[in-house]
């Protein structure tokens, strides 16, 4: 019991607990859920599916985490996903030999370059001009879908390029490539934010941008970087999604991704008000969302009720995450600890009250 209560103090305890419960609940309906086998020379199983389809969401949510940590929000990531997928697929469809590795690399670089530009645009609007983040990124969210359709000419571009397919559907040493890419990006961002002062700077800008500026932090530049990073992550996710189905769909690719990403960040324990953030929490949050989706498909929830089931689970997850809710519930169950009657004896619990 004491070990559990000690564990519960860790920030990531509740998200991890929820993920584990969600995964275990699958065992009841699908006994083979945890089976992982090697098929056709690569890993195959439901857990691998969750990681593979979760990888783009993890990336987008990762970028979103930093943006939210600076006190902003980026609604345009879904559109950036569509634009980058569209541009890469269009470039590949235009070249004579779709299987040439060089051509695919050019397409990837072009798409990521465009993502960078789009991120700069968002960052410029928010940090440069000072527009409210929700409005500034709304512009690209709406206009971006149009841009994506402009690139695809309103059609679904289908390509037949095996090197491009590797990004979203390939396997390297039996491991799915998108998962490996996601891991690389996670590790790089953890190193950058936690092994250098960058993470602290981001948190301080999110806590109070003006105070940080007065303390000598270039808060505008930090914000700009966060939006560029978010767009770049969304760009990679866009490549993965379009590569996974070898086609670019300007209308539907990454549709409502921004909302899933924000949800993942919140489940992971990062506050929407900015400040402290948790990359590990976000990754687990994204995995929870993907596990939920996969669970719904595997169990066979009727499509009419899918959204309701999702909403219920998300509500429960958010409630369990909330410390004040937990406190209320647990207090109600324990027969009222004697805190009010003994004001001075319970010293250790009292110290936690913030000054």
């Amino acid at each position: 019991m004491t070990t559990i209560t000690r564990l519960a103090k860790y920030r990531l305890f509740w998200p991890v607990a929820i993920l584990v419960v969600l995964l275990l609940s699958n065992l009841i309906f699908t006994p083979s859920f945890f089976k992982i086998e090697v098929r056709d020379g690569h890993l195959y199983g439901s857990l691998i599916d969750i990681l593979r389809f979760g990888a783009p969401l993890i990336l987008v949510a990762l970028g979103m985490t930093l943006v939210i940590a600076t006190g902003g929000i980026d609604l345009s990531v879904g559109s950036v996903v569509a634009i980058c997928g569209a541009l890469a697929c269009w470039r590949i469809s235009e070249q004579g030999d779709q299987n040439s590795v060089g051509g695919v690399l050019v397409a990837v670089v072009m798409a990521l370059g465009l993502a960078l530009l789009l991120g700069l645009w968002n960052g410029f609007l928010v940090a440069g001009i000072g527009i409210q983040p929700i409005i500034a990124t709304l512009i690209l969210m709406v206009a971006g879908r149009g841009l994506a359709q402009l690139i695809t000419d309103g059609q679904i571009i289908t390509i037949n390029s095996s090197p491009y397919k590797e990004i979203g559907a390939g396997y390297l040493l039996t491991f799915p490539v998108p998962v490996l890419i996601a891991i690389v990006v996670i590790v790089v961002s953890v190193l950058l934010t936690r092994r250098t002062a960058l993470g602290m700077l981001v948190e301080s800008v999110g806590g109070n941008a003006e105070a940080s500026r007065l303390a000598g932090i270039r808060s505008r530049r930090i914000k700009l970087m966060a939006y560029v990073f978010a767009a770049l992550c969304a760009g990679i996710a866009g490549l993965m999604i379009s590569s996974n189905v070898s086609s670019a769909d300007g209308n539907n690719a990454g549709l409502w991704y921004e909302l899933d990403a924000i949800l993942a960040v919140v489940i992971g324990g990062t506050l929407l008000t900015g400040g402290r953030f948790s990359i590990g929490g976000t990754v687990i949050g994204a995995l929870i969302i993907q596990t939920l989706t996969t669970t719904i498909y595997t169990i066979g929830v009727p499509p009419e009720t899918t959204l309701l089931v999702k909403a219920l689970v998300v509500t429960i997850v958010c409630l369990v995450q909330s410390p004040s809710f937990r406190e209320k519930v647990f207090k109600g169950r324990r027969q009222r600890p004697p805190t009010p009657t003994a004001p001075t004896s319970d010293a250790p619990t009292k110290v936690e009250v913030p000054a």
Binding site: I135, I139, G154, Q155, A169, N251, N252, G300
Partner: protein
């Protein structure tokens, strides 16, 4: 100061597309009422959201030109208010006939009444409206989605005649609640219900997209080891599912038989390649039929209240034959 400038820029950004739309409208309406005896048809399209829709638009434009009908065309960009605006402007321009594909089913009574009062007949294309007053429009031309589902079911029944073991079917539905999804499910379900050996073991929405089709099929494959048949409500979901099936080390079209609806070019290619077994056509090329109706209505002839688009079905051999001449 900086804030003011930013407001101006934002306002400019938002206004730009609006201005473009306005320009479009006045452009198409400028040469109205030019006193020729050509029939003038005002057509309001849903948008250009898919290859199917683009082919639909092109068919209507081409066949209007061929039939010598003057077409006033407007694109509603998926918004009902744009469509109502377009119809009102057609009424003001006193076109001879109005045709449109309603974005949604409800909320058309007022504007249709205005058209009726102006004595302009209305033809619905591709999608229906839910008005109880059927005198508001002359006819409705479009696909019969229930029939499409039935055709898919018929093929399956024929394919498995003489076999007794259970046939495990998984179904990828269209967007939940949309008419094609509801009706294609119903038509298919009605036909296969006659024989208890057909069992739909899983049915889930794939939102008519490739990405969702693939994701859902991956989950189906893990949860149900023996799937015999996949029925997808459109080609795109089927194409996504094919990738999932290949990823599971099975052969689409052989290990799992696949039936889809639509017959867009990518789907037909997969059919010709043997990865899909059967496609039920949902044809966007209703232009010639529409122009025929327009002429009849204009001449005051009576037309049937429901006209079904001429559609066919494709097997793998037929796909190989027609693929080179496929328009969309």
């Amino acid at each position: 100061m900086l804030r003011k400038i930013s407001m101006v820029i934002a306002a400019g950004l938002l206004a730009a597309p609006l201005a473009a739309c306005g320009g479009d409208d006045s452009g198409s309406g400028s040469d109205s009422g030019s006193g020729s005896d050509k029939i003038v048809l005002g057509f309001s399209q849903v948008g250009a959201e898919s290859g199917w829709r683009t082919a639909n638009t092109k068919s209507i434009q081409d066949s209007a030109k061929e039939a010598g009908i003057e077409l006033k065309f407007s694109d509603a960009q998926q918004k009902q208010e744009n469509q109502i605006k377009a119809i009102r402007s057609y009424i003001q321009q006193k076109v001879d006939i109005i045709a449109f594909s309603p974005v949604v089913e409800s909320g058309w009574d007022t504007v249709l009444k205005e058209a009726k009062d102006a004595k302009i007949p209305v033809i619905l294309t591709d999608r229906a409206v839910d008005s109880t007053d059927t005198s508001l429009y002359k006819t409705f031309i479009g696909s019969d989605f229930v029939e499409e589902g039935k055709k898919a079911g018929d093929w399956l029944v024929k394919e498995y005649t003489g076999k007794t073991e259970t046939v495990n079917i998984v179904e990828l539905q269209g967007t939940t609640g949309s008419a094609p999804a509801n009706d294609r499910k119903k038509g298919f379900g009605d036909v296969i219900a006659a024989d208890p050996k057909f069992k739909v073991i899983a049915s889930q929405t794939g939102d008519f997209t490739r990405a969702k089709g693939k994701e859902v099929m991956e989950a189906f494959l893990k949860a149900n080891p023996d799937i015999d048949v996949l029925y997808a409500h459109n080609d795109d979901m089927g194409l996504g599912a094919i990738e999932a099936i290949e990823g599971a080390g099975k052969k689409p079209g052989v290990d799992i038989k696949i039936i889809t609806v639509d017959a867009v070019k990518d789907g037909m290619q997969a059919l010709a390649d043997g990865k899909i077994n059967y496609i039920v056509e949902c044809s966007p090329l209703l232009g010639p039929q529409l122009m025929d109706l327009v002429e009849k209505v204009h001449a005051g002839e009576t037309v049937p209240a429901r006209v079904v688009t001429e559609e066919t079905t494709f097997t793998q051999e037929q796909a190989k034959a027609v693929l080179p001449s496929r328009q969309y």
